[in-house]
């Protein structure tokens, strides 16, 4: 009975209706399983519906068809179990760093004392100490995404969605944040689902890469990445996996 999965997606279909009421097929028969504690990457070209897929799983969009099951909770992951990190950071400009990190906890009605403890813990963990009173307009892109990450981790989610989390950052900052996220994932065992269009990023971070086709998005292949961690981006094995995935994407 107790199958070992965190999310199970079965035959998901979705359409966008454009202004002239023509239906555009976005996702076709998408099926996959994410195991608990696993780091999965959804990899695909722009417009393949991968962000839409993430939003469907997050409950923001109702899919046209198909079935989504979440472990132990068929109603889906609600506010106390799911968190998300956004490409555009999506941190609230009217709140300072501390208040941004606190946002999810406030919504969960976490008692004030516990809230303060958790905010401090995650502010420290992600390297934002000294910036608690700073407003987003005075932060660099990398620091903004740190706030986005701390806000997500503060609610102690069982499931973490990341929508191209490092795509708006310069290469140096992106790499730094990737290592931070990997470190936290290894120690906290959160189930992570990351959407990305970068093959190296997927191979470096994920246990499993779901390769998607261009529109309508379908799962083309599921590639397990069994390289030992920490992964060496310059090793022969790394390059051969990147090549293997590149070949699938080209089809």
């Amino acid at each position: 009975m107790n199958e070992n999965f965190a999310i199970k997606v079965n035959g998901l279909d979705h359409f966008f209706s454009s202004d002239d009421s023509r239906k555009m097929e976005v996702l076709r028969n998408v099926s996959f399983t994410v195991k608990p504690g696993e780091f999965s990457a959804i990899l695909g070209p722009s417009g393949c519906g991968k962000s839409t897929l993430l939003r469907i799983l997050a409950g923001m969009i109702k899919p046209a068809g198909g079935r989504i099951d979440f472990a132990d909770n068929n109603k889906g992951f609600k506010n106390n179990e799911l968190a998300m990190i956004f490409q555009s950071f999506a941190i609230f400009p009217w709140l300072n760093v501390y208040e941004n990190v606190e946002f999810g906890l406030k919504m969960k009605n976490t008692p004030a004392v516990e809230r303060a403890k958790k905010v401090e813990e995650h502010v420290k963990e992600i390297g934002l100490v000294g910036f608690e009173k700073t407003y987003p307009k005075d932060l660099s892109g990398g620091m903004k995404q740190r706030v986005g990450i701390a806000r997500a981790l503060a609610v102690e989610p069982r499931l973490l969605f990341m929508d191209e989390p490092f795509s708006s950052l310069d290469a140096f900052t992106a790499n730094e944040l990737r290592q931070d996220v990997l470190k936290i994932w290894l120690q906290d065992k959160i189930t992570i689902l990351m959407v990305t269009h970068l093959v190296d990023e997927a191979v470096e971070m994920a246990d499993t890469v779901l390769v998607m086709t261009p529109r309508p998005g379908q799962v083309e292949a599921v590639v397990p990445i069994d390289l030992p961690r920490p992964r060496n981006r310059r090793s022969k094995e790394f390059f051969s996996l990147v090549d293997k995935i590149m070949d699938i994407v080209k089809i």
Binding site: M60, N79, M84, I91, P93, L95, F103, K106, M107, Y135
Partner: protein, 225 residues
Amino acid sequence: MVAFITVAAPFIYIFIFSEFTGVKTEQVFLDLGTSFMRVLVAYVISVAAAIPLAFFLGQGKIGDFFLPVFDVLQSFPSFALLPLLVIWFGIGNAAAIFFLVATMIWPVLFSVLSSLRLSRKDLEEAAFIFGARGWKKMFLFTLPLSLPGLITGSIVGIGEGWEAIVGAEIIGITPGIGGFLNSASNRGDIPVLTFGIIALLLFLFTLNKLIWIPLLKRSHDYAHE
């Protein structure tokens, strides 16, 4: 110190010039105060009505429909309502305030609503993901999101409100600063007229300098990442 001078300027001016022009100082304060109270009360009513209405209409398709409607109502000449309001309420504060609400509510409503409609989709998604629902969402997300719109709408609304109240008072919804100017005009008293206009100007300058300009500046900081 600068703030103190700004606040004191209109008062000092009125004291000095009422001496020279022979107008009773209390009269100027009373008339200016009457107009100010009318604008203030009408503003509070407008905001209290506009915010919940904008929040209600801010969601989904109804908002798409009402946004252009409010844009039109914003430019409707509310003086057209004045004769009717005088029949209903008589000449006095009730007619003046009702008339002012009809003038001031539209820019506030339009502005708050458009700040909600044009808000960033990713912020809305983040609020959803982190569990913002119901009253908590309203106070901790929607309200701060709409504040920049409320401030711009308030500046436009109050500006139109002063325009309207002075006009209405000159036409005959006395007392008030408009009435003060009108009676000076009827007597052909140019020094008192000039004195009254400058007093009003200083008063409005002080309000802007102390309240609206700092709020506007804050709201810019606040709306942009």
